[in-house]
Symmetry: C2
Subunit: 260 residues, 2 copies
Amino acid sequence: LLPNTAASTRLSQVNDHLTQPNSTDSKMAAKITVHWLEDSRAQRILWLLEELGLDYEVKRYSRDPKTLLAPKELADVHPLGKSPVVTIVEDGKTLTLAESGAIVEFIVERYGSNLSIPASSSDMQARADYLYWLHWAEGSGMLPLMFSIVFAQLPKQGPWLAKPLLNGVSYGAMSQFVLPRLKENFRFIEQSLAGKDYFAGGKLTGADIMMSFIAEGLESSPLPNDKYPNIFRWYNSMLERTAYKKALEKGGKNDLGRFT
Amino acid sequence: LLPNTAASTRLSQVNDHLTQPNSTDSKMAAKITVHWLEDSRAQRILWLLEELGLDYEVKRYSRDPKTLLAPKELADVHPLGKSPVVTIVEDGKTLTLAESGAIVEFIVERYGSNLSIPASSSDMQARADYLYWLHWAEGSGMLPLMFSIVFAQLPKQGPWLAKPLLNGVSYGAMSQFVLPRLKENFRFIEQSLAGKDYFAGGKLTGADIMMSFIAEGLESSPLPNDKYPNIFRWYNSMLERTAYKKALEKGGKNDLGRFT
């Protein structure tokens, strides 16, 4: 195969632009509000904004203590009524954006490309890893975690007469269906982090920020945490970051154990 | 607010590069193989490659007829053993990439940026919409669809003695938990497509390709299809595309009804 010269040149030009830090103007011009729900994926958006040194406002929401669902007020911000949602006002235009992966990717590329791996990276594997984990966290990653929450809640939310029955179904589904998939996922992450400090390209990126919620899910999952030393080595180094700690002060620590 | 000149200039330079069609060299140099599983999210990757006019090879896999799971051979391609997975050989380097959203985003930006909305788009809403639906399809979009599959399969895969019981649990979970969320999602898509031919920026993008699997899910869901005229107007216009039809010839039509 011939080397792919035209494409490489084009890509390295793009690279030059994308790796330049964004101007202070750009950061000053955007007014960002994070609609933050307790014990949710919203906490990592605060961490993202702290890593980028951006100013932002936090609007706090609490879950319904019985159903653990988001409150109706969030539906006034975005039709699906979930969190995180951000509103961004830039040059008089207002944008409302939901879906964690989209928020991280949008904010990183617009206000802080230092947390991305540019499309033009000569390291095709690094860019692929970046996009992979960015999408994986909310796709393949969250799926068995959400199943474990739903099957744990099934006996609690169902009619009390049916509780013994629902406990049986929950136990069966967890042991035969959910736990094997959880184990498979975390074994895969564990192997992917062997000898690595970050998920993509040897540096902190939006992929690490997206994957932090998955690590929190592991912490409060029924899986034995000591089986995943690479995941916790990586996760603990995230917890030690100044930006992570600042974000905790502005939001708060997730208690995901309440869902299981 | 002052206009954000430094950032705009930088972004429009990036734009110039990203909107140039990729060189023929680039397309020729990459050898792409799609690991295609019947009745799966893999079909839309063939459609993507047809839209971009790229050469590719299809390796076909069948589901286990009893469990409906992917066959073990897929685990030889990627540790999680799911489909789609693509392998890309470029300049002697091999990349293996899974996760639909990551595959679409990677291939579009590397080999066919005409199906993207560049980061530098002056229309911040268009870029946000593009990223939103790209991530939403496999995050918020697939979640209730996967729950509807799991609760439909619960009585079928459980021990036969427990079938009446599992049918009851399945019915309760579907009516109280899954269907309300499915309806909410499809009502939201329906509203988002009002007066629009595409999901983002007024043109066909990777976001439409990602969302096509969600429309297939609606088709075989228990929801009445006639309540979603905008979704089906959009979806039918996708089905009429030459690239979509070519992809069907190389892969095959999904039968998602077998899961419910």
